[in-house]
Symmetry: C2
Subunit: 361 residues, 2 copies
């Protein structure tokens, strides 16, 4: 078996030890004589896995007691609707900051549920190459909440500061940079993250939510869409995606074993540093559209002088076992996704390849 260097944007690479653990236990979980996915979601075996996953999130992020940790289905796209269905009552308005395709989608979906307002946008000619500054934000002090996307996978930008929202709850889509480093959870009213980039397979979404915020949420929507429903049943109101939660558990346990989020941040900064270093060394060849202060540590995007060269780059890299490097179909170019599971050695290998590619181009 040869594993490739997987730079996919999501679903993305997972830590090999987390997968190996799943493989070992797949037919017989903890000597129970069945797979964890064959266990009842209300039985002791899954309960222990589920509780451990929640407690690992709490431990890694130091989540305060007055926040729920939920595992839901449907991904960020589902949250785009669920957030306003819970937090945006008729008569109120919600603020959205647009920094890329995902925040646009969140804004549009919320607009189908209630009244929304753009608090800032860095869009120029359908492209976003930077994060706004605090002074650019036109915040509504009576907004139901302010929504932001902390990392933008398509355009390779990332927030490296947090807006000051006063009393307005901050709601963040962290799907593509959840757990890349520590954050201060108290700054947020609600955080959601599809698992399939940094912490697991697709099919499960982590939600951290301030209890008073969701307990006071709207009651005029179907019960299945209410955060309060899931919070009251510890995410067991309906059958959860048990195997996906089990894999998240494996990934988080491995994260703790290998040094937790301080070590994770150190590694992630090192990986991004290697790549941006290689880019900045040849700015004539590797064209980085993103302004320096807005560069993402998760998705490094750049263009080459011609589309022909970009195609060759992707093809030749694949031949050397480095895959997932083509930019999003809406943006083109090259995108290197270096989420938590990507090893430093994979990035070193890619940087060598980049240097050799320039030399022979």
């Amino acid at each position: 078996m040869t594993r490739v260097h997987n730079f996919n944007a999501g679903p993305a690479a997972l830590p090999l030890p987390a997968l190996e653990r799943a493989q070992r236990e797949l037919l017989d979980y903890d000597s129970t004589g069945m797979s964890i996915m064959e266990h009842s979601h209300r039985g002791k075996a899954f309960e222990a896995v589920h509780d451990e996953a929640i407690s690992l999130v709490r431990q890694l992020l130091d989540v305060p007691d007055d926040y729920h940790v939920l595992f839901l289905q449907g991904g960020a796209s589902h949250q785009f609707a669920m957030v306003p269905l819970n937090l945006l009552p008729p008569g109120k308005s919600a603020d959205y900051i647009l920094t890329g395709g995902w925040s646009e989608k969140a804004y549009q979906e919320a607009g189908r549920v209630g009244t929304v307002r753009i608090a800032a946008s860095t869009e120029v000619d359908k492209r976003y190459t930077r994060i706004p500054r605090q002074e650019e934000l036109q915040l509504d002090p009576s907004a139901a909440y302010l929504h932001m996307t902390t990392n933008n996978t398509l355009f390779g930008t990332q927030w490296h500061w947090l807006p000051d929202t006063g009393n307005v709850p901050l709601v963040a889509d962290m799907s593509s940079d959840f757990l890349w480093r520590r954050i201060d959870v108290r700054r947020f009213g609600l955080i959601y993250a599809g698992a399939q980039k940094n912490i697991g397979p697709s099919g499960v979404t982590v939600v951290l939510a301030r209890k008073d915020l969701i307990d006071g949420g709207r009651k005029d929507v179907p019960v299945i869409f209410r955060y309060a429903t899931h919070a009251a049943s510890n995410s067991l109101y309906n059958t959860p995606p048990t195997f996906a939660i089990y894999l998240v558990r494996n990934v988080l346990a491995y994260t703790v074993e290998t040094g937790g989020l301080d070590e994770m941040e150190r590694r992630n900064r090192h990986k991004a540093g290697l790549l941006y270093g290689a880019i900045d060394e040849r700015p004539d060849f590797f064209l980085a559209p993103v302004e320096n202060e807005s560069r993402s540590f998760m998705n490094v995007v750049f263009r080459l002088p011609t589309e022909e060269l970009e195609k060759r780059f992707v093809t030749e890299a694949a031949r050397e076992g480095m895959v997932g490097l083509a930019g999003h179909r809406s943006t083109g170019g090259i995108r290197v996704s270096i989420y938590n599971a990507i090893e430093v050695t994979s990035v070193e290998r890619l940087v060598e390849f980049m240097k050799a590619f320039v030399a022979r181009a």
Copy 2:
């Protein structure tokens, strides 16, 4: 490794060969150097798995071309809201037949979305022990749809005929008996089924929907909740639960290899026959609450003379490697779930145990 006889009600046992295939491929799918769950949902590897899963559903059920086959998230509880959000416009009413706890939940959730009506209920003292007859149905000929639950896991009843609804579309929750045998898909407007009983792990839901019905669905709801959205993108509007779909593919491929649905029905009828045979042999000891014509081939429920005996039954069976036999927490008693993946030999083993238990009780 010793695998137990797993009679869980859901998530439930899966065919061992489908799990073994997943185990073999878990770190390196089809020599691609990564797990199928690390592949992009828009890449060739997952596309082939996804297409195969859809085509296996089409093949097994002979699904007509004018029906979509979708894989969604959220389980049946999510469909309880999604069905009326799509098919129940303001000004119309929908009919619900109540045959158990799940149909009650579907009815209640739809009532939060629009106007609903009970077309029939077989509830007596909070219990349901039979399926209604056609002459008991009070159908609204102008209903937006008629909703039914084809198999009732809590009470062990199952429909063995289909209501004549005239021009009213029939919508069915088949979560607990999907693919237990062939059905005539044309009799339904929409079918949905959470995978975790008969065809896969939790976290994915199959939807079969007549194209004209969902293409004409409501447009005043969030895009993520519209069937038409998912149909237009072949279930790839947002990231699907890729590994769950892969496992469904494995289960369905194995179903075809082992004789398809004709053989499946034969085995399922044989298994249920063995169990009901043992029950009917000692009606003084195995108290079957369900009327004969409404008995489920998926969930066989019975009571013993005392709760004390029921507890002993569950405990002693577990000691002999037969697990998941306690009834639902809301009903008590014994429940034997014998979904597609349960081997005849497991049922034979349980029947032997039942006979020995009576003998020594």
